[in-house]
Symmetry: C2
Subunit: 447 residues, 2 copies
């Protein structure tokens, strides 16, 4: 069998050998996805050593590709000046994102150049969920008193540096205060001595304090590639790019999904320390187990009925699980519709009606299926009625709750992702057990 060398094994050897040029040329060969995969398979010490063996510029580029929590951990292992050198090469919003989470932030910022340090400190002060928290400070701006020719010369002279800048629009300021934009096209078709003030176009801008949700509405209403961000004094401070906003939204969605599955903190990589992963998962599981015990106590309450109809014990987990499944389908649709914006949190009744209609149909089908199974197995029609009837009714309860709980929590400004599932399953379990055991109690004579 041919010996396969995985990218990380080869990378590990090279890191141990410690020859920068070879590491660089190897990394240049690799795809981004191979690099992400390889880094994930190295030990923390190896990853950190890798960072020190490549240029700060390459390190910054590498880090940009990695999952954020992993990159943060790597940076935290470096000393302040090493970290500063790498952070210096990052884009402005990434700089701020990392520094706002790092313990050694002040020490690192002290290592940066004065102007950069000041800029970063400003950026850090913004809320993550604000325009200021999402904007980048890499943009081109010229005073309105400049000419087209000056702009063109500036672009020629700095061609290489401006590679990474967003050059759809060039901003025009008047004593630092935002005036408007110039499109590349207008520059192209204007005479060289034209004053920017004569070809500048008015443009919308947003205040640096506005919240993510408002920013989303803004980009929904306007087909812009990016929007300039101004402070209260009207000074141009940065640009929010549509794609960065979309990325922020998508991170929100990923976080939400992981939370519905009980991943507290909205992210888990298996390279995180075991105790951290266990602790976070346990924080959700332990709440769940208490709720489970509370729900199962309903069964304890009806223990006499259960003794009389032992076969029922086979169906209780089925009723519990199937109700949970039906309810979670409704939860998923509610979370999806909320994120699409097609429903508002106050529309509890509308959603309930839409869920009950499906619940009646599905409850009937599932009730019949389980009822038949019970009837056949126990050779007793009443068993079928008890079990089938309980599942049928509980399905309707489950979808009703599943559909409305997320809206209700959202209304209460509580994050619906972590809480909807446990609340749903606890209530439907209790009710399902109650229904089955009560029905059984009514029909004890026939069972």
């Amino acid at each position: 069998m041919q010996e396969v060398s995985y990218p990380w094994e080869y990378l590990r050897e090279q890191i141990n050998a410690g020859i920068p040029e070879e590491i660089k040329s190897y990394l240049d060969e690799l795809d981004h996805s191979d690099i992400v995969l390889a880094i994930n398979h190295l030990k923390l010490e190896e990853r950190v050593k890798l960072l020190s063996l490549i240029t700060p510029e390459d390190a910054a580029e590498l880090i940009e590709d990695l999952p954020w929590v992993q990159a943060l951990r790597m940076l935290e292992e470096l000393n302040a000046s090493e970290a500063a050198a790498i952070i210096h090469e990052m884009r402005s919003d990434d700089k701020a994102d990392f520094l706002s989470e790092m313990d050694e932030a002040d020490a690192i910022i002290d290592e940066l150049e004065v102007e950069e340090a000041q800029s970063v400190r400003e950026l850090i002060r913004y809320d993550d969920d604000s325009a200021g928290g999402l904007m980048i400070t890499e943009f081109l701006a010229f005073e309105s008193s400049a000419t087209v020719n000056e702009v063109v010369e500036n672009l020629s002279a700095n061609a290489e540096e401006y590679e990474k800048f967003n050059l759809q629009y060039i901003y025009v300021t008047k004593q630092n205060r935002f005036e408007g934009v110039l499109s590349m096209r207008s520059l192209l078709i204007s005479k060289p001595d034209t004053l920017l003030s004569t070809i500048v176009m008015e443009a919308l801008s947003v205040n640096d304090q506005i919240h993510l949700d408002e920013l989303i509405r803004f980009f929904d209403s306007h087909d812009f590639y990016g929007v300039p961000v101004v402070n209260d004094a009207g000074e141009l401070k940065g640009v929010v790019l549509r794609k960065d906003l979309r990325e922020a939204q998508n991170e929100q969605i990923n976080t939400e999904h992981l939370e519905t599955q009980g991943i507290v903190g909205g992210e888990e990589l298996r390279t995180m320390p075991v105790w951290l992963r266990a602790r976070r998962r346990l924080s959700w599981l332990s709440v769940n187990i208490l709720l489970n015990i509370a729900a199962a106590s309903v069964i304890a309450f009806y223990q006499d009925t259960l003794s009389a109809v032992i076969a029922l014990a086979v169906f209780l987990p089925i009723i519990s699980d199937m109700s949970g499944c039906s309810g979670n389908q409704a939860v998923a649709v509610s979370l999806r519709e909320l994120s699409l914006g097609v429903v508002k949190p106050f529309e509890l009744f509308r959603v309930w009606i839409q869920e009950v209609s499906v619940g009646l149909i599905n409850g009937l089908v599932l009730g019949i299926l389980i009822g038949l199974a019970a009837w056949i197995w126990q050779d007793n029609m009443y068993m079928g009625l008890v079990v089938g009837g309980a599942l049928m009714l509980n399905t309707i309860v489950a979808v009703s709750l599943g559909g409305t709980i997320p809206l209700f929590l959202k209304r209460m400004k509580v994050d619906p992702a972590l809480a909807s599932g446990p609340i749903l399953t606890t209530v439907t379990d209790m009710f399902g057990f109650f229904l089955a055991l009560t029905f059984a109690g009514w029909m004890l004579g026939s069972l």
Copy 2:
């Protein structure tokens, strides 16, 4: 109490009144998100009537903002020429996406202009998951024999139409075959009579057949805004924009999440017909109920033990549910790591080790919790041992399966989203019941 008029109520009135100018001005006032919300609250007939009351251009813009399945349904209610008028105003990839799903596609395409019809027919032939399926045909290309001045004149003359084009790069062709790109910057700094062939820069392109995954790798390795797409003959056919690829990826992630919750088809809006929603949810639920019955038959097998220790019936649903929760946490992390690319489907052992370590810790804690609850309630230490021991071991089983099943399914080229959950819960239920009842059987004397 003040009477609140919801956007859709007002819109409904206007649709019934049927005055195009008023509807247009009302829609212009509304935010995108208000429009999405309002449309979602109209009946299908009202939505369709709305489309006929606004210009095809406005209709296309409106449709672009709506959830895709909803827009599709609206278009299908129109007659061929109405639909064609609206589709004509859409971007090329959206045209193709809708037409490839509509029954009346041929009739609609016949209503389009000849050139457009041909272009659309070509686009439809591509796989959704290929470069051709994702590309847009709105790009600017000039023959290499043209001059900078000709380009500038063309841009000036068509300023308004080119508003929506991606003008970061202009493509250069030689008899339709792709030669390279021109940046706006290079146009800006070149003399007017310069031949494009002298300033054209070589650029990478992709073949129109390549798969989405390969396209993702391409964009990972190159920091491009978009990539030109060529056919086998080397002719320039379209452009894939990075943001469209990202959107396709995010749709994949959304679909995956909804599927893990049992939403077959990866999308459900409550405005879809009730029977469709019920049928799709049922298709997953009915498989689940059969699996549940299979799992619960383990309990039936041990009915004698259960009769002797009725209290155990209280703990069986708890063991089942908690194992499922622990397992699903692991499933969520696996799906996340697979999508991030930090783990490959063949790494079953590595993932298993990482999960077992967490499973041991969490299993111990949960086992102790439930064991104590059982001990206290039944005033019997052996009950605690049975229940706690079963949950502890089953937790380890659950996280082991939860972590590895998604990878295993992915390796088998089976979509892990829909199947992982049911397989996991069925096996862990069976094993959990087996453990609890077997342990109880061993300790019957002491219980």
